[in-house]
């Protein structure tokens, strides 16, 4: 009963966020005139296509022109181009929501389609793969190391952790990636004659035929990007875990547990880690937005075929429609990710269930 209510409230808030972002996006689009450009491009595209197919049946050029003009007017009305942008907002928002944004200017999906929805959606799994593995690895590492150090505060390892976390936080994700390429690919090649890890991409060309080998190939290619993301995340996760564990370990119930004769390993698991897990998870939730940013940058550096690289290419080629679609999808991913994590949080912490 309590859980359902909590979850519903969270879900509603997150959906509100999505709507807010959508409206923000379309408002900016309208105000800067980009939506006119966009819709105009879609209309032109359709007109052109229809003209081509109609030209088969209508031979008379004048008649063709007349029909096409009428058609163009119709389409203009359909897409709301005859209205000022602020009256088009809901329609535009809906359009973004279902990714009905027409074709990309020059980018193509892997299969050759230029429809934006196709391009963006086929890259989504690649990005998710990168992100979730990096976050999972960092979280586990952070928890384990954080607990180890949190239960032994003030030692040299503790101080070393402070320095390491500071540096990990300050390292720009993309620069770490660049450095890794520079060393593992370039320098290794120079010194040892081969590349330790590939400098980019997700598959070798041509991709191996055997599915197991192909999977390993992906892992091999993912090694550096994931490492980059982990380096960026693990510092703050570990430090927060350590701080939280430090606070929890000083709580009375931990002393009580020891007095009860609970073996130390179990005290660590059940009384420290288990109790520290919810706030640590909160920290991961808070860091999720940053992780998305990091993933985008990492993909761009490693040319990983996900949405991040697409963002990069779209910026270079000034393809607004793709950028809009990506902004929306990323927000969607973020909202969904948060929701999942918050469900996890509620499962872990009975105190928030009302």
């Amino acid at each position: 009963m309590g859980i359902a209510r909590t979850l519903t409230i969270r879900a509603v808030t997150l959906i509100a966020v999505l709507i807010l972002v959508l409206f923000m996006v379309v408002t900016v689009l309208g105000a800067t005139g980009l939506s006119d450009k966009l819709l105009g491009a879609i209309v032109n595209e359709r007109v052109r296509a229809e003209r081509q197919s109609l030209a088969q049946s209508i031979r008379d050029p004048d008649e063709l022109n007349r029909v096409m003009e009428a058609r163009e007017l119709e389409l203009t009305k359909l897409y709301g181009l005859d209205l000022p942008w602020y009256l088009r907002l809901p329609q535009m928002a809906y359009r973004v929501l279902i990714l009905d944004l027409g074709n990309a200017r020059s980018l193509k999906s892997f299969k050759g389609s230029r429809v934006i929805a196709d391009i963006v959606l086929e890259r989504l799994p690649n990005t998710l793969l990168l992100m979730t593995s990096a976050i999972a690895i960092s979280a586990v590492l952070g928890l384990v190391v954080g607990v180890k150090i949190g239960t032994n505060p003030g030692t040299r390892k503790d101080r070393a952790l402070s320095y390491f976390s500071a540096i990990s936080f300050a390292l720009p994700t993309w620069w770490t990636g660049i450095l890794l390429i520079l060393t593992c690919a370039f320098w290794f090649q120079m010194t040892f004659g081969f590349k330790l890890f590939p400098p980019g991409g997700m598959y070798s060309t041509p991709p191996p035929a055997d599915p197991w080998v192909a999977a390993l190939d992906v892992v091999y290619h993912a090694a550096l990007p994931v490492l980059t993301l982990v380096v960026a995340l693990v510092g703050s996760y570990t430090y927060t875990a350590r701080t939280i564990v430090l606070n929890v370990a000083q709580e009375d119930f931990v002393t009580v547990a020891r007095a009860k004769g609970v073996p130390e390993k179990l005290v660590e698991r059940r009384y420290i880690m288990r109790v520290a897990a919810p706030p640590i998870l909160t920290n991961i939730i808070i860091g999720l937005a940053g992780s998305i940013g990091g993933a985008i940058l990492t993909e761009a550096v490693f040319n990983w075929p996900g949405m991040g690289t697409l963002y990069y290419q779209a910026i270079l080629q000034l393809d607004e429609a793709v950028i809009i679609a990506l902004t929306y999808i990323f927000t969607l991913v973020y909202v969904a990710g948060r929701f999942i994590l918050e469900v996890l949080y509620i499962a872990l912490d009975p105190r928030v269930r009302y």
């Binding site: 966020v17 500071a166 300050a170 660049i178 000083q250 940013g293 761009a300 950028i323 809009i324 990506l326």
Partner: protein, 481 residues
């Protein structure tokens, strides 16, 4: 209040992390002040993004000090300037000024390029002629090219001055005439028939500064060491005619303290300009974010009711938005500019602080001294400022320090993606070009490593300071005494 400050300071100063942080901060500020004082503010637009100024630098070469590590001796980038001729000869119709440069060439490698520039050719009747001669240690001399200044036009009144801004620059390594001269020289002196295309592709410096070696089918070049003489003969046709400056550039394999990028820009200059920019972005963004966030949190926590509800809802929504995609979208749609970035970062950054400050204020609100102040008749605003805020001030201050590197990193990330402010050289932008030009894959480490390193050092400074502030803010973390 001052006792608490002193107490806080001694707590802060204890750890090594804080000391490092303060030391770095002082260094950063000193450098920034130096830059602000010695460079013009429109440096970005006028000089950094102005290719002709950098044209005579070697492109994408490592810093000069890398040669001290031994190995093959790399050509030092040398600029020869002359305003006075070494020799003047008179004849009936003209006066020839000879400008001569000698190069003691002992390097093991070839120059990356050569160029000749003439500034300020002033004439009254007939335009001056410039001829470039190249004399090698093996006594072969090539006439590389002849250049005439643009003639006087009918509407112009003498004296006419050509080639002032910009000067006449001939990129010898890409000049057709030079290639032809080399072609004739090679067939004459070495009986070697080489096409002009090949010369251009291979770089004219090799045949100019070297001797061909034919091994089986492959043609290679060996460096000819010795003294080279570069002679520019300027033929002037009026006694009042003058020439301003002749410049010959021997493109080196290394340059400057931090090397150059692919446009020849001195990276040391670009990098140093990044200091004040980074600090500016960091401070402005974090100050604004902190002020708005703290104000929102205090108001929301203390005043309660409708104000609280509105601020809380707003914060909740905004807080849940992923930053980078939104940043990308806004800079793309609205335009690239420093202030766009700052505004977005502040607009999406304040809720984080507001939410936490609010919960702190909620606790403080119930305490006795607040009640006492209220019963004394203090106004709400008074209480919020004088009583509530000081309670949350340490935390707010530590967050101020903490937001600074975030802002710097966000701007760097945006610049890296190509959405930075194009009128200002920031470290992120320098890296952006480095990455885009493929520098990572060909190992241009001097371009790739330093900007990132500077970003890290700057960000780390603030993180260290924030870490040092932690025991002040969270008593539980104070050193176990």
């Amino acid at each position: 209040m001052s006792v608490r400050f002193r107490e806080a300071w001694s707590e802060f100063w204890v750890s090594g992390v804080s000391k490092l942080g303060v030391a770095f901060l002082i260094a950063l500020s000193a450098i920034s002040i130096y830059v602000l004082v010695s460079y013009p503010l429109d440096f970005g637009l006028r000089r950094w993004n102005n290719p002709p100024i950098w044209s005579d630098n070697p492109k994408a070469v490592p810093p000069a000090w890398t040669t001290s590590f031994g190995g093959e001796s790399v050509v030092e980038h040398t600029t020869f300037l002359a305003t006075e001729p070494t020799n003047v000869t008179e004849s009936a119709k003209s006066r020839t000024l000879t400008y001569e440069f000698s190069i003691d060439y002992g390097y093991d490698g070839f120059p990356s390029f050569t160029s000749l520039s003439v500034t300020n050719a002033t004439f009254h009747t007939r335009a001056p002629q410039f001829t470039l001669f190249f004399e090698r240690p093996d006594n072969a001399t090539l006439k590389l090219l002849r250049e005439v200044a643009p003639a006087k036009r009918s509407e112009e009144e003498p004296p006419v001055t050509r080639w002032t801004e910009p000067p006449r620059r001939v990129y010898l390594s890409g000049d057709d005439r030079v290639a032809s001269a080399i072609q004739s020289f090679l067939s004459r002196d070495f009986e070697l028939k080489v096409s002009r295309d090949l010369i251009m592709r291979v770089h004219p410096e090799l045949p100019l500064f070297g001797v061909p070696k034919q091994e089986n089918e492959t043609l290679s070049w060996e460096v000819l060491k010795g003294t080279y003489h570069i002679r520019v003969e300027a033929e002037l046709f009026d006694s009042r005619d003058t020439v301003g400056e002749i410049k010959y550039v021997l493109g080196g394999g290394v340059f400057g303290m931090m090397g150059t990028d692919s446009l020849g820009r001195d990276l040391a200059v670009g990098l140093i300009f990044g200091f004040p920019v980074a600090l500016f972005i960091g401070f402005v963004t974090s100050t604004l974010t902190t002020v708005i966030g703290a104000a929102g949190g205090v108001a929301s926590g203390y005043l309660g009711g409708k104000v609280d509800l509105i601020i809380q809802r707003a914060a909740d929504l905004v807080y849940n938005v992923p930053l980078l995609p939104i940043l990308i979208f806004f800079t793309f749609a609205v335009g690239r500019g420093l202030w766009v970035i700052v505004v977005i970062l502040v607009a999406f950054g304040w809720p984080g602080l507001a939410i936490i400050v609010r919960s702190m204020v909620l606790q403080v609100r119930e305490s006795q001294f607040i009640e006492a102040a209220r019963s004394l008749g203090a106004s709400r605003r008074w209480i919020m400022f004088r009583h509530v805020f000081p309670q949350v001030a340490p935390y707010v201050f530590s967050q101020l320090i903490f937001y600074t590197p975030s802002a710097i990193l966000s701007e760097a990330a945006l610049s890296f993606l190509g959405l930075g402010d194009p009128s200002i050289p920031t470290w992120g932008q320098i890296l952006q070009l480095g990455f885009q030009s493929g520098g990572v894959y060909v190992g241009w480490w001097w371009w790739i490593v330093p900007p990132g390193l500077l970003i890290v050092v700057t960000a780390v400074t603030f993180v260290f300071l924030a870490l040092g502030m932690e025991p002040v803010v969270n008593p539980r973390l104070r050193r176990m005494r």
